[in-house]
Subunit: 207 residues, 4 copies
């Protein structure tokens, strides 16, 4: 087992450097030279390991997504009850490694590329579908019908994404416990509400 494994090490190094560089300079000003400098390597190395800058950026987003997925699977492993599983989903989205400023900044940067980078869009779609389907499935187990499950899932998803965006704009990290509490509180309220009653309530409130 001589040199086996240099490649994965270098790739991880460069991906970590990419996240740092995006955080430090912004997506546009993240050049190959800067990534390489942050990794303590030479600029040529990136073509060597990733073929191109775009490939490295896609690999970086894939890495962020797979971190998220790993967290999710870990937390779902021991959770059986629907509410527990939803909590696991929420907790995964605000897991420790997801809540640092560099990672959040990188996420926002990638999101902004999604509308114009097919590969990043594909990755984003996969994550998005997974989150949605996870939530819907558990919400249905909690007794919500399809339409309501969809609606509640969408609200929770938007809320999660919104908390991330706001953190990115604020420049700091996410206060994970607070974020989890906000999402879970909203979930409980949405579950407690009878949709019919809500309509009335809204009606009266608007009166």
């Amino acid at each position: 087992m001589p040199k086996v494994g240099v490649q994965p090490i270098r790739r991880r190094q460069l991906i970590a450097a990419t996240i740092e560089a995006i955080h430090a300079y912004g997506y546009d000003d993240t050049t190959i030279a800067r990534i390489a400098a942050k990794a303590g390597l030479s600029s040529g190395i990136i073509s060597h390991y990733f073929g191109s800058k775009d490939e490295l950026l896609a690999a970086t987003m894939r890495s962020l997504l797979s971190d998220l997925r790993r967290q999710l699977l870990d937390r779902l492993a021991g959770a059986e009850a629907p509410m527990r599983r939803i909590e696991a989903v929420v907790a995964a989205n605000f897991g420790e490694s997801q809540c640092t400023a560099p990672v959040i900044t990188a996420w926002l940067a990638f999101w902004a590329q999604v509308p114009h980078a097919p590969e990043l869009a594909r990755l984003q779609r996969i994550y998005s579908r997974r989150l949605r389907s996870n939530l819907r499935h558990e919400l249905r187990r909690l007794g919500l019908d399809d339409a309501r499950g969809e609606e509640v899932g969408e609200i929770l998803g938007s809320l999660i994404d919104g908390i991330w965006v706001r953190a990115a704009l604020g420049g700091g990290g996410i206060d994970a416990p607070r974020a989890r509490r906000q999402v879970m509180e909203t979930l409980h309220l949405l579950l407690a509400a009878r949709p019919a009653a809500l309509q009335e309530e809204r009606g009266s409130a608007s009166r």
Copy 2:
């Protein structure tokens, strides 16, 4: 009647072209040549009217913000009751001109620049503070204490931003009535909930 008013017209033209270009090509690939082409003008015109590309981009974000502000003021004009005023704030954020795909894409693009573009960050902070203070003020009038007002305002703000982000990632526009309904439903639930009860509920739900 010499050439009165050519400048404001050109500036508006170019700002509109910038939004279109960001939507069509993405922020990074929005070049001066492309903006000018979309405006049907020559590339030199941008330096002529804005001094630099960055200045045009800042002006574009300012334009988006002032559209938002105008909508807000229009809607707040006739609204007196706190709930009405909150509805006005929400409605402004999902006003017609804010919900088209190009505008949403542009917003996301600007957000992604915020961590590294001081001028854009400044503009974002102004909008953010205004939204937060508007909501808090009305929530307090609805009987919420400071801490709870802050919390509810934050949840609503995150939800609004999250809905925008998701729309941007989805590539389409926003279904404004649906978005408004989602936010207002969440608001009503948050208002109906007694914080103490919520804690209990959460406790029991987590049990």
Copy 3:
């Protein structure tokens, strides 16, 4: 005689503005817009009166040369004796209007263009020949043979040009009386020296 004479006025205005602009910004950074601004006119006017920027620059150099020539003719008018006429030549080169900082700076700028601007080179050659032939003619009248006249004329010419250059590099104007004194002193020494004696002297000095 209604509008007759607007053209010469404008041309003079623009030439004066050109000299000021070269002094203020340097030759390279002397743009049409800046010249026009200094003249209090619009940028389009230059093409109108001169056809092109190059034409204006050539006209400006011609103007400097004709000022010089006018000075020379004025001073030569009443001078009959050879030494008097040489003094007139020297004095003309350090005439008041030639010794201001803007004019000196402009001269240096034009000189630097001479090697690559045929029209400016042509003008320069004319001035140069005139100066040389003036000096040689009077030096011959003072009894110098052709070779010695050429040599002395060249030394005087170089000295005059050198004083101008140094003034330009120093940034101020020329101290005209001092400059005249230096040139005339050198002339008198050159006239008093017997070339043969000079050779000896040099020989002994080098011994």
Copy 4:
């Protein structure tokens, strides 16, 4: 033996190419593309080695000055007697490598930038002071008082600069022996003259 010494080689190459380009096209029309072409390299290389065009131009002037200085030091090395040392100064200013047409043209071009380029002005000031102080020091050793030393030094300096300028305007190189002879002859005459006598002579000449 990796790539030791590539940088100094490239820098020298590019500086030489810059002088050639200034001679061939003139200062204003000396573009990065043309310099690179003369060096047989690509345009990007200049930013790589010098950061900017201005930096390259300053480095080129520094190079011309250091050539001059090297010549001066070489010639002063074995010269002890004041007159010998002055001859060394003069000879250095008309050294072989200073007298080629490209170098002379470049000098004139730089001089024309001096009034508006602070860094070039600084370099010029250093050279100018050194020349002046060298001359004054030796002139004092030859028995001239301060005021007369200053005057004589200034005349010699102007003469040297003037010879350079005339060569640049003429387009050819300098006839170095002739130039040296002209300057030294003038020096000897200035030394031989008794200032008091000069005043009389001038008085009588002007009478």
